[in-house]
């Protein structure tokens, strides 16, 4: 789980890296074991080791049931690890949260308007109202929500709802943005548009992103590196670098670098996906 004291401890002991300011995330031999109803241990994640550099866009990809969401939950401090830890190191602005999460099911508060949803995290940061308004207006504009500020979530389309989810997470200006299959509940066309917009937002904010997905094209199109996980127990099979220029655009999906990476990843997980298909586990 995230551990503020560990992060501060490492920073104090002089482990701050050179180069880009900001925080890097180190997932350190992280394991998670669940106990099922029959009392049997189920290893969801086994010794995950990875680093996310400041301003980096990392995708975590794996077949169903590889514990991707569990990994993200532990990075967000919403789940405890069985062993290992997640450490943040680097420079942090006072009061800056380590992470903010964009959820697959949006998880917007239905009783709050779009604007009030965006301001939720800002309220919890105890920001003065003036700064809260300034920030929510800025991120509402950035995510293309202008004119929809006073709508309730049920009055918005899926794509607009997830824009609220993204604006809410960006507004707290976290060290790292965690995204748990953020566009998988959207239809294919909306998803493509949202991916483009997310890349545009990332180019502007340069917040480090950990993007969990099971969609290979999505991962390769957006990420600098794709961390491929195996099926249960989830282990890092390989980290595949994506050699594509930025800013990215759809046209690059035909380029050799794109095809090479997608083929490599499919080769890694095809047999596992087949096993998942037969077993029918979610």
């Amino acid at each position: 789980m995230i551990d503020g004291s560990a992060a501060r401890g490492k920073a104090a002991s002089g482990l701050i890296c050179c180069g880009v300011p900001g925080m890097r995330v180190i997932v350190n031999r992280l394991s998670k074991t669940y106990r099922d109803r029959r009392g049997q241990d189920l290893v969801a994640l086994d010794g995950i080791h990875l680093t996310v550099e400041p301003e980096e866009f990392v995708a975590i990809l794996g077949p169903s049931g590889c514990g991707k969401s569990t990994l993200l939950g532990m990075m967000a401090g919403l789940l405890s690890a069985t062993s290992g830890d997640v450490v943040f190191e680097g420079e942090r602005r006072p009061g800056q949260p380590f992470t903010a999460t964009v959820f697959q099911e949006f998880a917007l508060f239905p009783w709050r308007t779009a604007r009030a949803n965006v301001e939720f995290g800002l309220e919890e940061l105890d920001l003065p109202p003036a700064e809260r308004q300034e920030r929510s207006a800025r991120f509402i504009a950035m995510t293309g929500l202008e004119g929809f500020e006073d709508k309730f979530p049920h009055q918005l389309s899926g794509g607009m709802r997830q824009r609220v989810g993204i604006a809410r997470a960006l507004a707290v200006e976290p060290a790292v943005l965690l995204m748990d299959e953020p566009f998988s509940a959207l239809d294919a066309q909306t998803r493509t548009l949202m991916m483009e917009e997310l890349l545009g937002i990332w180019e502007r904010t340069r917040t480090g992103i950990v993007y969990v997905t099971h969609n290979i094209q999505e991962a390769v199109y957006m990420a600098d590196r794709v961390v491929v996980l195996s099926r249960r127990p989830g282990r890092v099979l390989e980290t595949v670098p994506v050699e594509l220029k930025r800013p990215r655009h759809e046209g690059q999906m035909g380029e050799p670098g794109f095809l090479h990476a997608t083929e490599r990843i499919w080769g890694l997980i095809k047999s596992q996906a087949q096993a998942a298909l037969v077993e029918g586990e979610g």
Binding site: P97, A107, W111, E124
Partner: protein, 265 residues
């Protein structure tokens, strides 16, 4: 086999239900007209069933003399105080038992054990404790409202979406923030369902309490009119009670629309 050419018929048409708005009005109006006609003909003596027009006339006279307002004011006061105290206590206990496991362990068995008691049976005990005056009547109404409120609020709290609670925590919310900003709004629809249920119970207990020990109030008016066989006056009381019942539900529905806007727009 001869070739066929058949247009597809809508076979689900039988399932469609028409509104029949006119019929609804006619049914209600027809009953009143029939009732008035029966009393005019004299088949039913006015002692058993007073005529609707007579009831309206009596209502006008009682309102003009100020008598009616005295009874309505006395009843409303008991109703509002009892309902307010019972609802507030029920909501607080419901939230506490829904959120805190210790409160649940203490509260749930107590509520389960005392909930089935018909509250009106406690009135003699309450009169013994609090005297024959207003407090005992208010207390019995409060008790009647407390249980549906506590049970509904508890259910509403337990129904709060765990994903939203997780999201709130992910954005730095502490326990009180989660209760105030996630659990309470999640429970609001159930709380309003409880309030509507409680309003019905409150009216029932109000009349019962006023019939047992009171010298004012609509319940007293009905009982007293019955004792002196003034059926028209009795019917005035019943009309007042039904108006009170309809009005309280209407007010609560309006409040719900204001408090839970995300469900109605």
């Amino acid at each position: 086999m001869a070739p066929e050419r058949v247009a597809v018929r809508d076979r689900a048409a039988v399932l469609r239900r028409a509104d029949h708005r006119l019929l609804r009005v006619a049914a209600l109006g027809g009953l009143l007209v029939l009732w008035e006609a029966l009393t005019r003909i004299g088949w039913i003596p006015a002692l058993f069933l007073p005529s609707p027009l007579g009831v309206v006339r009596e209502l006008g006279e009682m309102a003009a003399s100020g008598q009616l307002m005295i009874h309505i004011a006395a009843s409303l006061r008991r109703l509002v105080l009892g309902f307010g105290v019972g609802a507030a206590a029920g909501i607080i206990v419901g939230i506490a038992t829904g959120v805190f496991s210790r409160a649940e362990a203490v509260g749930q068995p107590l509520i389960a054990a005392t909930f089935p008691i018909p509250k009106i049976a406690l009135l003699p005990l309450l009169i013994l404790w609090l005297g024959i005056g207003e407090p005992s009547k208010i207390a019995v109404i409060a008790l009647g409202v407390f249980f549906p409120m506590a049970i509904n609020t508890y259910a509403g709290v337990r129904q709060a979406d765990p994903l939203l609670v997780r999201a709130a925590i992910a954005f730095g919310a502490g326990r009180w923030s989660v209760i105030r900003k996630v659990i309470l709004p999640s429970a609001l629809p159930m709380i309003f369902a409880g309030l509507k249920l409680g309003a019905g119970t409150a009216l029932l207990l109000l009349v019962a309490a006023e019939m047992i020990a009171a010298d004012s109030g609509i319940g007293f008016l009905v009982l007293h009119a019955g004792n002196i066989m003034d059926t028209t006056r009795l019917m005035v009381g019943i009309v007042c009670l039904s108006v009170l019942g309809v009005l309280s539900q209407w007010v609560l529905t309006r409040c719900e629309r204001l408090a839970v806007p995300w469900r109605h727009t």
